[in-house]
Symmetry: C2
Subunit: 194 residues, 2 copies
């Protein structure tokens, strides 16, 4: 095989169907329940890891981009939920800087971002991050290696103009991690390497 | 606009043309010179930021995936050179874990990875990272915010089975950063927000 001409991120059919109409969610709890629902569905449908995320316009609550973990189905290690959600939101908004959208954007994620997604959050232009389960939950329950996160990761975001809220509906988010573990989902983990 | 159905990473035409045939580079210096050459060309062609990366099979020197920074042309903040290169290599290899390829893979990057790309390196399955310019060069010369990198970032990679080599041909890599600065390339920078 030669060098590919392109690499495409596509969402699972069940998620595409959910996004057929415009969605607006003004209530923070509604947003997080919807995102945790995506993470659960991703496990149940076996279309990837137990993680989901979405970008909302802060003022209107309009859903701009949704994502689930697609590492296995797409064979792409960067296809974490947060990166997928930001990519779709940026394509939709026509900018690499989500801060250019109205009164800014919020990234809602079912679990605290791993090191890669913490960095992706910094570059994305969102001004608010809301998360459910913690990185310790992800490492302890599922066994992924979330990477060398800064001790004061919330402060690092704060310094760069991004407010953080969580652990929000953590118990519900943790249930999905446990479900993934019980159904023997793949744990692709740096630590398991050579 | 509705929620997009997909997001596609495509390389600039000049880079696609360079990848028409199979490339093999056994010499570490040749690999790095080639990668720094891509970063320079990306600035000269105005097709993105002053960064390039490539994934090579360690044993054979075969080029598996090449990437340049495509944040601006694709309107995608995660489209850093390292993520693009890993995505193409993984698509080509048909796996999200580049450690599954022969005797493993090396990621060669013109500048030390930012926080997002450090995390992406951990998930990618590469077992060796070679870089040119440092994060301090990128921050000092161009002004990007590389994020809250761990003090011992090389040690964090080492703990996870990834050896690190650099600063390799740093002066040549730094020249490209300076060229970008001189030609007034966009600095999309978290710190400038809010």
């Amino acid at each position: 095989m030669k060098h590919p001409a392109s690499v495409t991120l596509t969402l699972p059919a069940w998620l595409k169907a959910m996004l057929a109409g415009d969605l607006e969610m003004r209530d923070p709890e509604q947003r997080m329940r919807w995102v945790i629902g995506l993470s659960r569905r991703n496990v149940e449908e076996r279309t990837g890891g137990p993680f989901a995320a979405a970008v909302f316009a802060r003022e209107t609550g309009q859903l701009l981009g949704a994502g689930v973990n697609l590492v296995e189905p797409l064979n792409l290690s960067p296809a974490h939920a947060e990166i997928v959600a930001c990519a779709f939101a940026q394509k939709r908004a026509g900018t690499f800087d989500l801060n250019a959208v109205g009164a800014g954007c919020e990234l809602v994620t079912s679990s605290q971002p791993c090191l890669m997604c913490l960095g992706a959050t910094l570059w994305s232009g969102v001004t608010r991050l809301t998360y459910g389960a913690t990185a310790a939950d992800v490492e302890g329950i599922v066994g992924f290696d979330e990477g060398p996160l800064p001790r004061d990761w919330q402060g690092e975001l704060g310094k760069r103009g991004i407010t953080v809220a969580g652990e929000f509906l953590r118990a519900e988010a943790v249930e999905v991690l446990s479900l993934y573990k019980e159904t023997a989902g793949t744990v692709y983990n740096g630590r398991s390497r050579g």
